[in-house]
Symmetry: C2
Subunit: 444 residues, 2 copies
């Protein structure tokens, strides 16, 4: 699938929602990400919304006032049902031509000078007055492991003699995660209880995990799926992807080290995973695509993972940031402090390769399924996407600017991930943020 | 939770459905398992049914003629909605007192002499005229690894120097599986394509898997779940289990060997998993419970996995059988041939321990979630639940009675799993069967 720019990407576009035109706004008219929302505390059903500046356009309300009249892809009962649903699954399942037509229609009606400005003004809710739910019903969740820098750094800690396994450069390694415990930004979760085996003792002990960590990831929402027994070719894979969000794959490292062999992580991960409410479409990210290549010294991808468009534009230039706000910072009213800054461009495998690999054996994906990219650590140590890496396995505490230190997370810590694509002189395509807070362990 | 017998377990009970009273019938009146079914080829919505002899009682139809009047647990809109649904999730979510009341009501109206015999006769469909769907919407699927005999035998093949890992006797090892590719008995699937690395070559190759295998497992359907952040204590775990079914965890061993480190099996398993249509309730299995104990030489379970009822009756005496029907047998009209016979009593971990372990970190389970028991190999080599074990890693071909041999599965092979609980002089509590057929690989 070739990445193409169209009138929705025009850098000069401005919205009649003035906040969308401000410098460094995450949600300019060139972005138009999707979420499900409702008025905070209203207990009403959730509705699909589109971010514009600091507002949310209520999509079913806009449809009801005929904002999308005149687009053949945006007519009929299926579209109306999808727009009026409480999750994005229906819209995801309608496919790329519908997503693209909707983006074009939204871009036009939200532009300065739109005849519908007066009508649509009544369909806005300030984001400050909204609360969010998971954007989709997530049938299955798969987590990949696509940063070679993360895999190497973590491998050194878990297997000092054998950090990067022989399959890594051939196989986009992934595993199935737990869908039921995925929550939306703002999720709070208790420090998990479980088994760990400290190296100094003979037998495992039961209690709260001591080595609590985050993982800086992107989430990939599947749009149209594939039938069981069929595969999605790598060159068609992106037409099956609805968009990207931020994802924090919370991890209890001490539980992980004890349980993960031979079948992979389980209780060390499945107590909580948090994603951002906003899904940024691939079309919005089209100007921020990069060529993908594999170093000549490394194995080239097998044919089912290779292709012209993979090479031409398989990567994404998305900045990814981790911030920490400790209880002391909250008390002092101090803003969250940056722990690291990385970029999705460092990923060893592309989104299209993840989708093609996942389905090459006939495994079926459904609209709303979620793939995690794996921790996106960059090549430099300060670009690491987890505390495990930043503290070298807990040996080198992080010094915070208020005098505190962290080795792993402490109770009450809030971790915030942010992401954005940006070029000089262009609007910023932002992901907003995903925040999550570690609560103390439950009493046993 | 203590296992108790009641009037529904009476060995003398006979049904007015005469086929239920025949020796070795899987579905006597003491069983009463649940499925969702419809008349074959009817394209009608699926309905909940209860097996009795060679018939299916249409549960919504029975409810509509007031078969369950007089039971307070079986009144009201929630119950009616659950009975009239196209999956068992609603009924599963209603909880053990409702399941138990329904079992009692069904036992009474299906007994010889029931005043409702005439009315309910019209609510029967012969199983031979039915087709089945998955009994529940499976939100999340987790596969355990509870046979120490399987873990040791497989460990020897994958890690000759380190067969049983140090965590095995402490942790009920499990991992997340793929829910989307689970199908009901009769599932046909193509030999999966993917990467393998034969030991004789330097680089992996892409193509059809060569070492196709089955795994003999039980499936455990969760009834009422738990809220995220809470745990299900081991002594209450069984009240959260709706029942058991048969499960075949198809496996591509050559893909598994190449991909499984460090995050576990992925494409080697997620192309298909097949379960039986019938779910046998824990209450039906109450007479077949066994004491569970841990050899004194082994570590005793940590307190969160231990309890009086675990010790008193944690195990199940369920016979598990694997049969193979090759294309040559089908052509010759020969019945499927037994490959092995095992028993769930050999499981190193109990169902209650699996549930307690899965939730001890706060992970939430939902009604309809499925747990796999892991391959149930017994202590003797001929009790092995996979070809990998029976052929010692593909080195020792199996000799079939028609002169054929098998190392791994060949295209067109059908594998059938059966299960039953039985005591001399008592009716048999059967699971029916789960069959699945390997089709040739798709053309690339």
């Amino acid at each position: 699938m070739t990445v193409q720019l169209n009138e929705t990407h025009d850098l000069q576009l401005r919205s009649w929602v003035q906040s969308a035109n401000q410098l460094n706004c995450d949600f300019p008219i060139q972005n138009l990400p999707f979420a499900v929302f409702r008025r905070k505390g209203s207990h009403q059903p959730y509705r699909i919304g589109v971010a514009i500046g600091d507002q949310i356009l209520d999509l079913p309300a806009a449809h009801a006032v005929h904002a999308f009249a005149g687009y053949t892809e945006l007519q009929g009962g299926h579209f109306t049902a999808a727009v009026n649903a409480q999750t994005l699954n229906g819209l995801m399942g309608l496919g790329a031509p519908v997503w693209s037509a909707l983006r074009l229609a939204l871009s036009r009606v939200l532009r300065e000078g739109s005849a519908l400005q007066g009508t649509l003004h009544a369909c806005l809710l300030p984001q400050a007055q909204a609360e969010y739910a998971l954007p989709a019903h997530i049938g299955d969740y798969t987590d990949f492991y696509t940063s070679i820098h993360h895999a190497t750094a973590v491998g050194k800690l878990f297997r000092p003699d054998n950090p990067l396994l022989p399959n890594y450069k051939w196989v986009p390694i992934g595993y199935h995660g737990r869908a039921s415990s995925i929550g939306v930004s703002g999720q709070e979760f208790h420090r998990p209880l479980g088994q760990t085996k400290p190296p100094t003792v003979e037998e495992p002990v039961f209690g709260p995990a001591k080595r609590m960590d985050y993982e800086l990831e992107l989430g990939i929402f599947i749009g149209q799926g594939n039938a069981l027994g069929t595969a999605i070719p790598v060159e068609q894979a992106e037409s099956h992807v609805f968009g990207l969000c931020l994802l924090n794959d919370w991890s209890a490292r001490d539980m992980q080290a004890w349980e993960y062999q031979p079948l992979g992580p389980f209780l060390a991960k499945n107590f909580a995973t948090t994603i951002s409410p906003w899904i940024v479409t691939l079309e919005a990210l089209a100007p921020y695509r990069l060529a993908w290549h594999r170093d000549a010294a490394d194995p080239q991808p097998l044919p089912y993972l290779d292709g012209e468009s993979v090479r031409a534009s398989g990567s994404f230039d998305i900045q990814l940031e981790v911030l920490l706000q400790t209880p002391a910072m909250k008390t002092a009213g101090t803003a969250a402090e940056r722990l690291s800054l990385s970029n999705f461009r460092h990923s060893y495998w592309t989104v299209s390769q993840m989708v093609a690999h996942h389905t090459v054996n006939g495994c079926n994906l459904h609209a709303g399924d979620l793939l995690g990219s794996g921790t996106q650590s960059g090549p430099a140590p300060e670009e690491a996407g987890s505390l495990l890496e930043l503290t070298e396995g807990g040996k080198k505490p992080l010094q915070l600017s208020n005098g505190e230190q962290r080795v792993f997370m402490e109770d009450g810590d809030t971790v915030i991930l942010r992401g954005w694509a940006h070029k000089e002189g262009a609007p910023r395509i932002g992901f907003g943020e995903v925040a999550g807070t570690l609560l103390p362990a439950r009493q046993i």
